[in-house]
Amino acid sequence: MIDHTLSQHDVKRVLKVKIKVGELTNAEPDALAMAFEAYSKDTLCEGAELIVERVPLLGCCRDCHYEFNVKMMYFLCPNCKSANIEVVQGEELLLESLEVE
């Protein structure tokens, strides 16, 4: 995906790679950093910094529409105690941006 983006720009070197990782994924920042280092060898990304932004898990109550941070995977509305919760944020695994020169 990075290669595809870079092919459309005139880039000498990638300095930073920013990704967003939701709490409701099993992606582990340390493991991502290690994999990134290994896969970026001999590419424009070699030596680039991988910046992982953890995205907190946000739920929205389908009954009272209250929005709240889901802590410890406890899917219960703090407002009306409903268990009918929609995940509105926290499932993402996104390549946000590249800082290049």
Binding site: M1, T5, H9, M73, F75, L94, L95, S97
Partner: protein, 223 residues
């Protein structure tokens, strides 16, 4: 200008390559009116045993096929093949989960048009398979009670994403310290809509209920 530092916005889903193929698989199952399910669970939870015990319980007119995911061996597929259903083994060659491309590769080997149900047994693992959509209609977890009542809370992502959980090895309940109420309560907190079955592949407990539920899902999918 060339040497200037700048930021390129991308905002692309890193799962795209898997998710796009998963949608192609899903459309393939939809077109053929074949319900596909993804069976997940730890090594030794009883995923293959469940299939062995469930296959003979289906109505005679239910046409079922199985995809077995395993890192190296074909031991699971060998166990299923004696049940006279089409079965194909995928060896991931070290990878701890199936992905949508591995499934796509073996789909042409089935006559999907004649199938009602495709059961995909994933690699034994409660972590990574949760993040890889295969194009299934829904996920089912097999969790044996001897693994401990803390497991749903420790592996919440997979429980959040599943439609049913089968609590296996209920015949061992009195022999362990497992707190069934706590286990079920934790599961419901993570996923209130999940259907919970208490089963034993050894004694047959709960298996007919599970099979009926699954057959109803097939009928609902096809209607």
């Amino acid at each position: 200008m060339d040497n200037e530092r700048r930021e390129i916005e991308v905002m692309a889903n890193l799962r795209d390559s898997n998710d796009m193929q998963a949608e192609v698989n899903r459309a393939h199952f939809r077109k053929n009116n074949c319900l596909a399910i993804n069976i997940l669970g730890s090594p030794g939870a009883g995923k293959t045993s469940l299939l062995e015990k469930t296959l003979p319980l289906f109505n005679e007119n239910m046409s079922v096929a199985v995809i077995e995911g395993d890192i190296f061996t074909s031991k699971d597929a060998d166990r299923i093949s004696v049940h006279d259903v089409p079965v194909i083994q995928i060896n991931t060659g070290g990878s701890c989960h199936l992905d949508s491309k591995m499934v796509a590769k073996v789909l042409p080997e089935f006559d999907c048009q004649s199938l009602d149900l495709m059961i995909i047994e994933n690699v034994g693992n409660l972590v990574c398979p949760a993040d890889f959509d295969l194009g299934e209609a829904f996920k089912v977890i097999v969790l044996s009670i001897v693994e401990g009542d803390d497991k749903p809370a420790k592996y919440p992502v997979i429980f959040r994403k599943a439609k049913a959980v089968l609590l296996n090895k209920m015949d061992l309940e009195g022999l362990t310290d497992v707190n069934m109420e706590r286990m079920k309560q934790d599961i419901r907190v993570i996923n209130p809509d999940i259907k919970i079955f208490e089963i034993s592949c050894r004694t047959g407990k709960g298996l007919q209920d599970w099979t009926n539920w699954l057959q109803d899902k097939v009928l609902a999918f096809q209607s």
